[in-house]
Amino acid sequence: MKHWLNQHTQALGLVLKRMRKNLLATLLMFIVMGVTLSLPGTLYVIVENLNRLAGSMQTDPQISLFLKLDADRSTAAAIGKKLDAHPSVRAHRFISKDTAWEQIQQDAETAAVSASLERNPLPDAYFVTPEILQPDEIEALQAELQQWEGVELAQLDTSWIKRLNALLQLGKKGILVLVALLGIALIVIIGNTIRLQILTQREEIEVSKLIGATDSFIRRPFLYAGTIYGLGGGLVAWLLLIGIIRLFNLSIADLAELYASGYRLDLPALETGIGIVAGTVLLSWLGSYIAVNRSLSQLNYK
């Protein structure tokens, strides 16, 4: 156990000493990795925030049922009865064309427009809150209502949210692809860096191998180097991410104020940060492992 610990502290000490000696190169490596990773990280945070925003708006989908202009009171009442009886309808609210007209005339902003109109152009309308929340079921309900006699248009108010959701799905897929590509890039970057280090220490590796070093003895410092690069790169990515979100929030605060909203991008959760760092460490470890094993296989006892 003590022997095992000795081997590890020795390897780690060696790596840290070398990194201190090449401090600039090491820091540059951290930054390269951090910048690479902060790109998908930032996108992730933005999509995640939009997702949350869309989620909070989706709670109350509504179908606006506009009746035909020539529909009379009895048709409207019949539709009201049918809505009462419909199992998928939780609530509905009737706004007659006169009420709507009055509201428009009272509203200072639209009064000017309405004043120029000779007669009421508005139809009677029902605002239907469905019992169900599944998007496709609501759509089916909308299609059904559209077929009813006297209905001009059944409009699903959530359609823009659906479009946003579809976009967010696309965004998530995009991030996934980006993460995969940059992950591969990261493995290659680390692999190449470690390969160069192996080249500069080729003599040491050869001699060590000749006098009885095991593969794991030789591999160990390089794996530690890879892991430290991953740790540093992940932390830089995390810091960059927080910096970027804060920067965005400065502008978003101004924008939100114009919409009388206190909306802010939420900073990513701590778990996300730990995930980023852990993922980077894992990828770097993998990159170094591949690089060292390639070199070792060329030196093996045949």
Partner: protein
């Protein structure tokens, strides 16, 4: 201790480096491997030190057949040997102390225990005052002595040297040979490849190679009979 039985070694795409080699080395012997350059001296040493696998035949080290040794166990076998190479194979990015400490680190020995043993080894080869010096500042003879210190620091039972005096003038060469003899006298098996027959001590065993064949053996009647 070391036994070769009808050992052949052929490098891929090359000539037969060693053909049908059989001999035996007892513990504590002083053995010279001689022959012209390209006769297979280095190959023979590499087979003993488990740096190469024989193409056919058996190589026994302490009754262990290393021809079939699993690759993962090879490093542990190599630690039983102290190796001195013709080109020293010193690491020029670290000082003398760290060079000698390398085998100990590989064995997981660090700290004051390692320091004691490194200094003892440096003392044996007369370089104790040079422990902080970088190898590049040493003379050829001193570098070779440093390499010997590295070879003996983990107190191996077998010391193998490939042309240890190849690049040295006569005075330095004699010093180095003196060192090897001293180790043999305290019970270490010493195997030295050399093309310079003047160095050979009369009581030593000699394996003479010629184009991959073992031609003469001196000092071991039994093996000589089987070879003939």
């Amino acid at each position: 201790m070391i036994k070769f039985d009808q050992v052949n070694k052929r490098y891929p795409g090359s000539h037969q480096a060693l053909q049908n080699i059989s001999f035996e080395i007892e513990a504590g012997e002083l053995v010279y491997v001689t022959g012209h350059s390209g006769a297979g001296k280095s190959t023979l040493l590499k087979l003993i030190a488990a740096l190469e696998r024989p193409t056919s035949g058996t190589v026994l080290i302490n009754n262990q057949n290393i021809s079939h040794l699993r690759s993962a166990l090879v490093p542990y076998l190599r630690r039983k040997f102290g190796l001195v190479f013709q080109d020293h194979k010193l690491l020029y990015d670290r000082n003398c102390f760290d060079n000698v400490a390398l085998p100990l680190h590989i064995n997981g020995i660090t700290g004051s225990e390692a320091g004691k043993r490194v200094r003892a080894a440096l003392d044996k080869v007369g370089l104790l005052d040079k422990e902080k010096a970088m190898p590049i500042t040493l003379s050829g003879g001193e570098q070779q002595r440093l390499a010997i210190a590295r070879a003996v620091v983990s107190r191996p039972a077998i010391l193998i040297a490939d042309e240890p005096t190849g690049n040295l003038d006569a005075t330095y060469a004699a010093e180095i040979m003196q060192l090897f003899h001293a180790f043999q006298q305290v019970g270490v098996t010493v195997i030295i490849a050399t093309h310079d027959v003047r160095e050979i001590k009369p009581h030593a065993k000699v394996l003479k190679l010629d184009h991959g064949h073992l031609t003469t053996l001196r000092g071991d009647q039994r093996t000589q009979e089987t070879a003939a």
